[in-house]
Subunit: 200 residues, 2 copies
DNA sequence: ATATAACGTCACTAAGTGGTGACAAAATTA
DNA sequence: TAATTTTGTCACCACTTAGTGACGTTATAT
């Protein structure tokens, strides 16, 4: 089913507000004003603010659709290049998040505890888990690979979210591109560590 | 200079609100109501909401004062036990954050981009950096130790903040205490990795 | 052409927001 | 005792919030 013109405008209005003022400033009045229509349409079309935001989030949740691609890539992988593929996935995630303000705001909003997004997070988790399952075929079952990956993903997310405001972590200035290269290098080293521990 | 009774009540009111409803629900009206006094006193004593929150944050920022202790411990460390000390610091940080809702909310609030806390974050960063400098005396200068540590700290923060709401990351259920043990084990492994790479 | 449903506008409510000026009581100071 | 400063109360401001009911307008189908 296609989107009506007004529905599109409302969704775009959400993007506009989130991008400029962040999620904390969101609200029916502001959205309707930005979209140039009446707020009553938010209730009619989306059942309210929550419904609209969920619909918006579905369309901006990188992980949910990107992971689907990665799964195919990993399925076609061989022992020889699996390490590089995993590195690519991480770099892809890092660079996407770094450049995408909407996704950043979405993650922060989730951390703030707005339960409207629970469905989306569960879906994301489901796909992420499938990805991990595929990956585990290449890895030693004795090692806690899920935890290794979880730690790296979490680190990426936190560092991106934190440094967009405060620049420095542990003496490293992330407003300097060189810092991100160092981070990529370290992640790469960690991946080697994970795989080497599995004797590949 | 001592705190007046009313100032204490205001600060406690902030804690109460943050603990129960999170930072998003904070505001002068609610705080004054909770403290059982007039909101005008917030402006008189703290210069406004921001001033009050900064004062509150200073008193609840774990890192700022805990790191000071760690520095002494590390200064007294020897090659033999430095690895264990670093592990202890991480575990301490993990468990403190895990049990402390106020600190969790503070971190999320910072990520949401409320610049009032910039001063506090800079102070925290300054002390964290000193800690790292002490640690670097034990480590190989060729390896990017600051980055290794930054990644682990970030991972700890993100995982704690995320799982208090959504429980699962990458197939791991953090509502199960066993998951946290796995995490501690993995961090321990990483620390070994960092130090072994430095040929100690 | 007419009935029906979809689409959109407007005015309104009730409550909450941050913030201020006027004023009273109490404690300190001279 | 008298003057002054501190501490606190109250009423009010203009504005924003989420949400609703009533009303037109337009398009679609019969």
């Amino acid at each position: 089913m296609e989107l009506k013109e007004t529905e599109k405008r409302l969704l775009e209005a959400v993007s506009h507000i989130v991008e400029n003022d962040g999620f904390t400033k969101i609200g029916v009045n502001r959205i309707a004003n930005q979209a140039g229509c009446d707020k009553v349409l938010i209730y009619r079309y989306f059942g309210g603010l929550d419904g609209l935001l969920v619909e918006w989030a579905k369309r901006h949740d990188y992980y949910s659709f990107a992971y689907s691609e990665f799964i195919d890539t990993i399925k076609r992988a061989k022992d020889g290049n699996i390490k590089q593929i995993v590195k690519d996935v991480f770099m892809c995630q890092l660079n996407y998040l770094k450049d995408n303000v909407l996704m950043q705001e979405l993650l922060v909003w989730e951390l703030s505890g707005h339960s409207s997004f629970k469905g989306i997070i569960e879906e994301r988790e489901r796909i992420g888990y499938k990805l991990q399952e595929e990956l585990n075929k290449f890895l030693d079952r004795d090692s806690d690979n899920n935890m290794s990956i979880a730690i790296i993903i979490s680190a990426i997310n936190y560092i991106v979210l934190f440094t967009r405001q405060y620049h420095k972590i542990n003496g490293i200035d992330f407003s300097n591109p060189e810092a991100w290269e160092r981070m990529e290098a370290m992640i790469s080293k960690y991946v080697d560590f994970i795989f080497d521990n599995n004797n590949l």
